[in-house]
């Protein structure tokens, strides 16, 4: 019995982990108590857990992303604190391994991914004038699978031990011999389950965008964000199955002693590196392309000007997506693949700078002669352009394979990708969050606090990451938990730590802004407070669950249909209100996902009976769903008219 429980113990406990355990247990108890006290279980089940409304599913992704931003951020600060002074004893080597591994996985897969998926969910149907996504129930399932994968990953540091082989989980380091705890099992299975959800999202949104656009909306009239979402989802569908296979092989190597990546018996550790990056490099573009989409929306709105070079913007997205699959070995130039291969991948990697440059120049040309209004989202965009360009330039430096032998696996690399991902993805997500906040919640975030947040964040960012370029070129290796006084890295690392602290303050300012604005912001802002351009602003605020009473017709408009309607008097809503067909909520998807969670947990600890039971549960849910007859329901015309009349009376702008 005690042996059974011993396997769940954390193999390398420390005071920090005990504190984390206690706070998680207390936090969970408090949460359950609050929900029970206010009798919210029924409300949560009916309105959120079982919902098929794309807007609500989007908001659930948003909450997940923000919580994970906090968790990944704490990991980041712990690392910077450990490195702030030489020979620090705050974290030991093993704990440091676990922290940088989870920081990477959490930030990429459980923060950035749900953040962009939030925008897919919330924006795409609204921008194309649809009532929902193509498969609303699959959408709910996708969220819960993603959520369960995230949950499974996050319990690893209090049950059984965290993964410690880096977010890339390179073999043989990730094999049982060198990663002895169950941590890497968690990595393999949690990513597998979350990845399934992501693949479903990809299929759902490709179908939605191709098949459910409003009348008159040709592909080259789609708003820029929808274009970026389409391309990102196409990359998802073609890249994630590669990860699925790699993770399955990795799981089998660890659990059943197969020989894919093992050393000996013919196994090949480089196969993992290749498969991982065949997925991993396109993954970077899955994140950055929607971010570009958000910036395009923000920049054209606040330059009060149509996006410059719309067609070239679309083509550059397409070209980037093709190139993204042709550059993966630049992640391991130094692992002995030969000069010829390195040269090919060096050139394709540099070539990506061309379409990206096209986009940067188009944004600049949009700003040129624009009537620029500096709002918080616009300020994020204005900080993004120079900072991201710096990240791009250092990316080209890394793409020179001969030179890469000097700075591979140093802090230079760390500085480069944070320099791309933070001003690129994180700034875009926060710009989009601020931009669409009034559409979601009916009040604006405070502008003064918002702008201060951007400045503090950029200041912290520069302070934190620019020194890493220097220490990297001087030879400070990444993933090393400490360094000697004699290395001379200490001053710059201390500066980085201060920068990380300042960045943390900016995130706290964001939280404070949300709370402050929730308390103080006026609620009578109408439905178009920014004077914006896309169809998503042609809805009421709050958006009724059917989105549009009448499907918009954009035959006479450009890609910025709502702007045209305001400026040229184009009529968007033609025809009469009719009965609206809506899908029913479903709890089965949640139950199915729970079985996935249990099955994943069982496999982590090699409890195969429990795994088989949950597999049967999964198949039973699918069988039940197959036989079920569900036709959804109709909202009657009179009811829609009543709701619409109520909005008109309250003065919600159309």
């Amino acid at each position: 019995m005690s042996e059974f429980f011993a396997q769940f113990a954390v193999p390398h406990p420390s005071t920090l982990i005990y504190i984390a355990m206690a706070s998680i247990v207390l936090g969970s108890i408090a949460l359950v108590a609050i929900v029970t006290y206010f009798k919210l279980w029924g409300y949560l089940w009916r309105e959120w857990i079982t919902t098929v409304d794309h807007k609500k599913i989007g908001i659930m992704y948003l909450i997940t992303a923000l919580v994970m931003l906090f968790r990944g951020g704490v990991d980041a600060v712990m690392m910077r604190l450990q490195l702030a002074v030489p020979e620090n004893g705050f974290l030991d080597a093993q704990h440091y391994n676990e922290v940088f591994t989870t920081h990477g996985v959490v930030m990429i897969l459980f923060m950035a991914m749900p953040f962009i998926t939030f925008f897919f969910n919330f924006l795409v149907p609204l921008q194309i004038g649809a009532r929902d996504v193509a498969f609303p129930r699959l959408n709910n399932l996708a969220f819960w699978l993603f959520f369960m994968g995230m949950g499974l990953f996050n319990i690893s540091f209090i049950v059984g031990g965290s993964p410690d082989a880096g977010w890339t989980s390179y073999f043989p380091l990730a094999d049982n011999e060198f990663s002895t705890s169950v941590g890497t099992n968690y990595y393999m299975l949690a990513l597998q389950i979350a990845g399934l959800g992501t693949l479903m999202t990809g299929i759902n949104f490709i179908t939605t965008i191709f098949k459910m656009r409003a009348p008159g909306m040709t592909l080259f009239k789609m708003p820029m964000f929808t274009w970026s979402a389409l391309i990102a989802n196409l990359i998802i569908v073609f890249a994630f199955p590669v990860l699925t296979v790699a993770l399955a092989m990795g799981t089998m190597d660890r659990l059943w002693d197969t020989k894919f990546f093992a050393i000996g018996d013919g196994g090949m550790d480089m196969l993992w590196a290749n498969l991982f990056w065949v997925w991993g490099h396109p993954e970077v573009y899955i994140l950055i392309l929607p971010a570009f989409g958000i910036f395009s929306e923000v920049i054209s709105t606040f330059a009060r000007r149509n996006l410059y070079g719309y067609t070239s913007m679309v083509w550059s997205l397409i070209v980037i997506s093709v190139f993204s699959f042709a550059v993966w070995t630049h992640h391991f130039f130094t692992m002995g693949q030969g000069a010829f291969t390195n040269s090919i991948f060096s050139i394709t990697t540099m070539a990506i700078a061309i379409p990206t440059g096209v986009k940067i120049f188009n944004w600049l040309f949009t700003l040129y002669k624009g009537k620029i209004v500096i709002t918080t989202p616009m300020l994020y965009a204005m900080h993004f352009i120079p900072l991201f360009t710096l990240g791009g330039v250092t990316g080209v430096m890394l793409a020179m394979s001969a030179a890469d032998y000097q700075y591979h696996n140093t802090m230079f690399l760390v500085a480069h990708f944070h320099n791309v991902i933070i001003p690129g993805v994180v700034y875009a997500m926060l710009a989009g969050l601020t931009f669409y906040w009034p559409k979601m919640f009916g009040f604006m975030l405070n502008e003064r606090l918002g702008k201060a947040t951007v400045w503090v964040m950029s200041f912290g960012f520069v302070l934190s990451f620019i020194p890493m370029y220097i220490t990297g070129l001087d030879g400070q290796a990444r993933r090393m938990y400490t360094y000697s006084e004699a290395s001379g890295f200490s001053t710059l690392n201390m500066v980085s730590f201060v920068g990380a602290g300042i960045m943390s303050i900016s995130f706290l300012m964001l939280v404070w802004n949300i709370w402050y604005s929730f308390k103080n912001s006026p609620r009578d802002i109408g439905s178009d407070p920014w004077d914006a351009r896309g169809l998503e602003w042609a809805t009421h605020t709050p958006i009724p669950h059917y989105n549009f009473a009448i499907t918009p017709d954009v035959t006479d408009s450009t890609s910025e249909a709502f702007w045209d309607a305001k400026k040229n008097g184009t009529k968007l809503f033609k025809g009469e209100i009719q009965d609206i067909h809506m899908p029913n909520n479903s709890g089965q998807t949640f139950i199915l996902s729970i079985f996935f969670f249990i099955g994943g947990f069982a496999l982590v600890f090699s409890m195969f009976t429990l795994a088989i039971i949950s597999l049967i549960g999964i198949l039973a849910c699918m069988g039940y769903r197959s036989l079920e007859d569900d036709h959804g329901y109709h909202i009657h015309k009179e009811e829609v008219e009543l709701i619409e009349k109520k909005y008109d009376k309250e003065g919600g702008a159309k």
Binding site: I203, V242, M252, K259, V278, S626
Partner: protein, 199 residues
Amino acid sequence: MGKVNNNVPLEYSTEENNLKIFGFWTFLGAEIMLFGTLFASYFVLSGRTGDGPTAAEIFEIGPVLAETFILLTSSFTIGLAIHAMRLGSKKATLSFMGVTLLLGAAFISVEIYEFVHYVHVGAGITTSAFTSALLTTLGTHGLHVTFGLFWGIFIMIQIAKRGLNSVTAGKTFVFSLYWHFLDVVWIFIFSFIYLKGMM
């Protein structure tokens, strides 16, 4: 349920079915990547046999030919089922689907025999990188066929209970796409794993 269009086959007659069929094609795109990755890994590892047997030593042409004929025939019979469905014959649709699933079950039986044989001659999944990749690739295809058997049975139950309507027709059509796809994958397995391995 959207409006019904009578000028197209039953499975394409509603908006909802159009979405589902398109979505399924997209899913098949993902499946191509999945099997493509498995094939690529197999080709990388196929010569890396360690101390274990090589492909030429363990492959037997008999069962493989049997599997090939059985599965290709089942692809033909699922085509007949769709044809019967378009002619509106519930009984013929069910019969041809039944034959398809029986052939699928026969395929799985031969494959299980084959796997037992591999283990028997010392080519288990843990023997070498080659056997791991071989059995994982074949096993993934086999699991797909097995899943298809259950899926097909559930669709047959619905056709038997509710007859041929836009919902059951859509499901049957999607199932037929899935089944043909598994056949295409098998042709690749037959050509590039077995024939190449035996040469």
